[in-house]
Amino acid sequence: MSDVLPREVLICTIARLLDGVRHVAVGASSPIPAAGAMLLRAMKEARGAVGPRISILGSVEHNFFTNGSAELFDCAGQGRIDAFFLGGGQIDGLGNVNLVGTGDYPRSSVRWPGSFGSAYLYFVVPRVILFREEHTPRVFVEKVDFISAPGVSPEGVFRSGGPVALLTGKGLFRFDKTRPGFELESVHPGHDLAEIKQATGFRFEHEAEPRQTALPDRSTLDLLRGRVFDELAETYPEFAAQMRRELGAVDA
């Protein structure tokens, strides 16, 4: 199965991480998480089961909210959103996320857009998947410069949600909130443990020889390359077209 693209591995891994959710919310510019959610829905429906509800923020077709931009957060506060994705300019080993900037706040030397809804959603969405393709020491740091949203909360602070996994372009980590910290679960094809250690600014647990991230089977790939990329093209036309170009290049 050498013809599976790295981003297809990510999409299929996300579909696996989302298994069992009823409602997943995806950010406006997050084609890979959206594709993962759509793939899970397609896989469920192919088996005659009910797939997850998918809310894509900023989309008209995949957004059924009628109460303005507050409704997503109200919905999450009511426990109606099971999974969400967070990126981050910086993510540290305690699962803290920084979406604000580097250097001395408020006069950040590098300013990113801002925290958006993270300071709330991270607390109340049970299955938050941290997703950042770029896996470098500047992203995965020992300690973030600014906490937009903390990985864990002290005893007594209301916390029905939080991180469960961190998916990068090199591997998949599970988050253990009791320790707290990350454990390397698997390494994507073409990467290895030494490379991941080099690229990660925080310490993490791992097996001596971590396994490889599971690859999709043929029927999953067929669903992805057919129905899912068709659906994805409605909201993320450029991404879907690019994936199909890359697949064309592999086939050629």
Binding site: S69, A70, R107, P113, P154
Partner: protein, 269 residues
């Protein structure tokens, strides 16, 4: 309600006022940006509901802004908000970094005439650490040991947005963009630009009435075709991403920003 025009409406804005602006996809009155800059009332405290973009960046670039309360600032796919980011780095604007539901909660408190709204989350964030106006209290309805954050009411002096239509009675069609209603309920003055003004009363039909902000909350309405441009307007036209990218590139420097803003061609092509 007064049927007005953008240049006249801008005169409602006085130095030091708190001004609420909507998120880029909800209906930004870009048609008001230029008149606001020409009018020149500065020291504004902007509230972005819940995030800001082009309009925020241009008002900051024009030097009219004292503080910015927002959950994020960016030009979307065109990248960071260049004049905002420069002002942050120079310390030229004071930041009140927020999170989206906190801004909605503050408006909700104002809507109800309450002093604050409690909100989950936030505890342990550096957002909370830098907000001396947000308070943590123990939930008085629990047996103790349940800290929760209080967000004070956000009461803008002025709210400004753009929507497809108003009727000649001043009722404004906001569809499912209910945050525009929340902003209006919370504000003293509400200035609305619209694509068109219709003859029929929008409240007369049950199907349209539920998506209407009644004239009770609307101070003035002005017709401004393509008034969200280069942003898009829901149900009407898409964003002009090439123009937003052109701005993003020009506004990387203060001179480039001035040159862009000085162009006579500010109306949509």
């Amino acid at each position: 309600m007064v049927l007005s025009e953008p240049r006249v409406m801008a005169k409602h804005i006085e130095p030091g006022m708190r001004v609420a602006l909507p998120v880029d996809y909800a209906g930004v009155s870009m048609a008001m940006t230029r008149p606001m800059i020409e009018h020149g009332a500065g020291d504004l405290d902007l509230v972005c509901v819940p995030t800001g973009g082009l309009q925020l960046d241009q008002l900051v670039g024009a030097g009219l802004v004292r503080t910015v309360e927002t959950s994020a600032a960016s030009l979307g796919e065109a990248g960071g908000a260049p004049r905002f980011n420069a002002a942050v780095k120079e310390g030229a604007v004071r930041l009140k970094d927020a999170t989206c539901p906190a801004i909605h909660a503050g408006l909700m408190a104002a809507q109800k005439g309450s002093p604050f709204m409690p909100l989950r989350g936030l505890i342990g964030t550096d957002l909370l650490r830098h907000r001396d106006d947000w308070r943590v209290v123990d939930n008085p309805l629990a047996d103790g040991g349940d800290p929760i954050v209080l967000i004070p009411a956000i009461k803008p002096d002025v709210t400004i947005f753009h929507v497809p239509m108003a009727d000649r009675f001043g009722n404004v069609w906001i569809g499912r963009r209910r945050e525009l209603a929340a902003m209006a309920y919370a504000s003293q003055t509400v200035l609305v630009t619209v694509e068109r003004i219709v003859e029929e009363n929008l409240l007369a039909d049950e199907m349209s009435a539920a998506g209407v902000l009644p004239a009770l909350y609307v101070t003035a309405v002005a017709r401004a075709p393509k008034g969200a441009w280069p942003y898009g307007l829901w149900g009407e036209y898409p964003a002009d991403s090439a123009e937003i990218a052109r701005y993003a590139k020009a506004a990387r420097t203060a001179d480039g920003f001035s040159a862009y803003m000085a162009q006579a061609q500010m109306e949509p092509a």
